[in-house]
Amino acid sequence: MFGPGIWRMKRFADSVPEIMDLQREINRLFSNVGQSTALDYPAINVWEKDDSLVVTMEMPGLEAENINVSVTGATLTISGVAKADPLKEGETYLRQERAVGNFQRNFQLPFQVDSKKVEAKYEKGVLNIALPRLKEDLPKKIKINS
């Protein structure tokens, strides 16, 4: 979405690295829209093969129904809520390090995703989302007539 076009690269060749850095910073700034803090949480890993991506995310101890994954065009949104054990009166936490509460992260994907074929599974506390590229979005080979 915010990728610099080729013409821009060429005209301002000297400043390309700076522009790219600035662009990355600004994208990072807005990747947390809808989230109360500007933290990269939960962390993700992105894997690539041919025309599909896999996003993995460690988020232990959630219920599958408390995780929401949605794809709109080229934007992936993952949100969820991690709940702490309900304590009865007189019970106290001696140590509390695990993250609780709502989280939401938005990602800009490099291509349009075929939202019907997106598969998400949640195993061993790791969320795994497979995102195949939309067929219509694949680069087309143009035949050259001589």
Binding site: A43, W47, E48, V54, E58, P60, L62, Y93, L94, G125
Partner: protein, 130 residues
Amino acid sequence: MSDKDLQKSENTAVTEKIRNVKTFIPRVDIYETGEALFLIADMPGIDEKTVDVELEKNILKISGRVENGKVKDYSLVFSEYEVGDYERTFTLSDEIDREKIKATVKQGVLRLELPKAEKVKPKKIAINAA
């Protein structure tokens, strides 16, 4: 909470290692009820077969082995976290009934129930009218 607190922290104290992977300190919650202490550890990637709970004298050691954080046939293009083993030790007091410790694993979370020994459980003392 700083940015760093949300990332996994590496356990640099682990020395005995054969596998060439990083070891992380799992995040834990501990809470106390009248009957027991509950220890909940976040160890994404483990299941009941790959987690170990050992009790030696009064040292409780929880460890987990994460076989493979890779996605088959795919190559990593962007990474915010690393996959590795887990290890953390705790010192138990004599107040824990060692024979009755229970452990369960669900969605990468290890949950230990450490029941208190009979002698330290809170007791209600009946008062007889004189």
